[in-house]
Amino acid sequence: MFFDGFLLRAGLAGIGVALAAGPLGCFVVWRRMAYFSDATAHASILGVAMALAFDVPIFAGALLIALGAAFAVSALSDRGASSDTILGVVAHSALAFGLVAVSLLPTVRIDLMGYLFGDILAVTRTDVALVWGGAVLVLALLAWRWSALLLATLSPDLARASGVSPDREQLVLTVTLAIVVACGIKVVGALLVGALLLIPVSTMRPFCRTPERLGALAAGLGGLGSAVGLWSSYVLDVPAGPSIVCVLSLGFLASRVVVLVRP
């Protein structure tokens, strides 16, 4: 009965998002884009509101606004304005406008908490298909650009000298980030999708000597954390997103303990 129930759908969606978030999260960490990913995710709430207002799929609205926010932030940062200030301004204003817009919608009564922190009850078969489609697309893009992305991350100058355009690689990350955010809204929610990007990578870092291994282990740990977190959320009747993040955080703590005690 579990196997075609909502828990299975939620689990599949969670694992799908986590698999894509692991390798992408590596670049978010290596390039210090944590705030960037938060800004993108927070902005997606505005996309949710607009999708509801114009009666288009939530996924499409969130993806569109997340993409818009990511590009806006990239463009503004390039002009030399202090990057984390711009990110803060965009992140908070987009979130605020999104929340206000959702409350103004006259006809719809929606559970805002579900979009902020994830809602496993709301995951449909279509959602699962969208999440896995998005995850496969993200993983394919990252695999295709992997070496070029690594070089552009280590040194934009060397990348240029080797015929790799750092701007184009940044574009790949911007697009994949928006996809992961749009996929992650139903599972972990807009406020916590950043955790799925950051925590598995920092947990697994001490146990890896190659970037590929870190990407793979982060994906695996994220998937496991999502499954365990969802299950706990079902058993304890607490929101899905926070449960997943709690499980991942405990894993992070455990890894630090292992690092401390190992010879």
Partner: protein, 246 residues
């Protein structure tokens, strides 16, 4: 006869609306070591980037010898501690290179024992040598280095420049580098170009160090650098009057 590898002709560069370089003309010939010196903001890095083709000129022309192989060494390599990467792997980005070739480049740069070391655990000097090895992979006709010894202490810088000189001796490649440590690079340079938005003066290192344009930029009382130079200079020529005048 040495041929011209790289040439700038009346080059103008802008950063937005601000002119950074104006009317810069220079030529680098095969096998020579040329050092560009200049104060902060004098456009040294901009000039290098324009020469390697990373920035488009606002005016003037840049000519490279057809098929010129450039080995570029950036200022520093900042490695996030969360990024696991061995030296050998770094040389294989973005495309796999022949293992023997990678070994040869590491040996030439003095980093052969560190092929399997993590980039993040290397010292500044070692990281600079890894960048040098990477630049040597393409068997360059010209090595271009942007303040390669930034953050190294003086013995470290001196050792690095000796390595550059040795590589020039072995491979015959030309070297173009930016530095603010004229006294350290002097012995290794055939020619020095003093830059401050335009070419102030150029020539043999000793000529430049005593040129009024250079002194106007770096001052006569700026301590270490020039004093060290004059000290050597005085001993060399037994010019005690000059020293006494200090």
């Amino acid at each position: 006869m040495s041929r011209i590898l790289l040439q700038a002709d009346r080059l103008d560069m802008r950063h937005g609306a601000t002119p950074v370089l104006s009317d810069v003309s220079l030529a680098i010939r095969s096998g020579e070591i040329v050092t560009i010196v200049g104060p902060n903001g004098s456009g040294k890095s901009t000039l290098l980037r324009a020469l390697v083709g990373a920035l488009p000129p606002a005016g003037g022309r840049i000519e490279r010898a057809p098929g010129l192989r450039i080995g570029y060494v950036p200022q520093t390599l900042v490695v996030d501690p969360h990024l696991p990467m061995t030296v050998a792997r770094f040389l294989n980005l973005p495309h796999r290179v022949d293992a023997a070739r990678a070994d040869a480049a590491l040996t030439r740069a003095g980093m052969a024992p560190h092929a399997q070391s993590q980039l993040g655990t290397l010292s500044g000097g070692q990281r600079q040598r890894v960048l040098l090895a990477r630049a040597l992979l393409s068997d360059p006709e010209i090595l271009i280095l942007d303040e390669p010894t930034q953050g190294l202490d003086q013995p470290g810088s001196a050792a690095f420049y000796r390595q550059i000189e040795a590589i020039r001796g072995e491979t015959g490649c030309a070297v173009l580098m930016v530095s603010h440590e004229l006294h350290v690079v002097m012995s290794a340079s055939d020619r020095v170009i003093c830059l401050n938005g335009h070419v102030c003066c150029e020539g043999h290192p000793e000529q430049v160090a005593s040129a009024p344009e250079y002194r106007a930029l770096f001052g006569t009382g700026t301590g270490g650098a020039l004093a060290l130079y004059r000290h050597e200079h005085a001993h060399h020529h037994h010019d005690h009057d000059h020293e006494a005048a200090e």
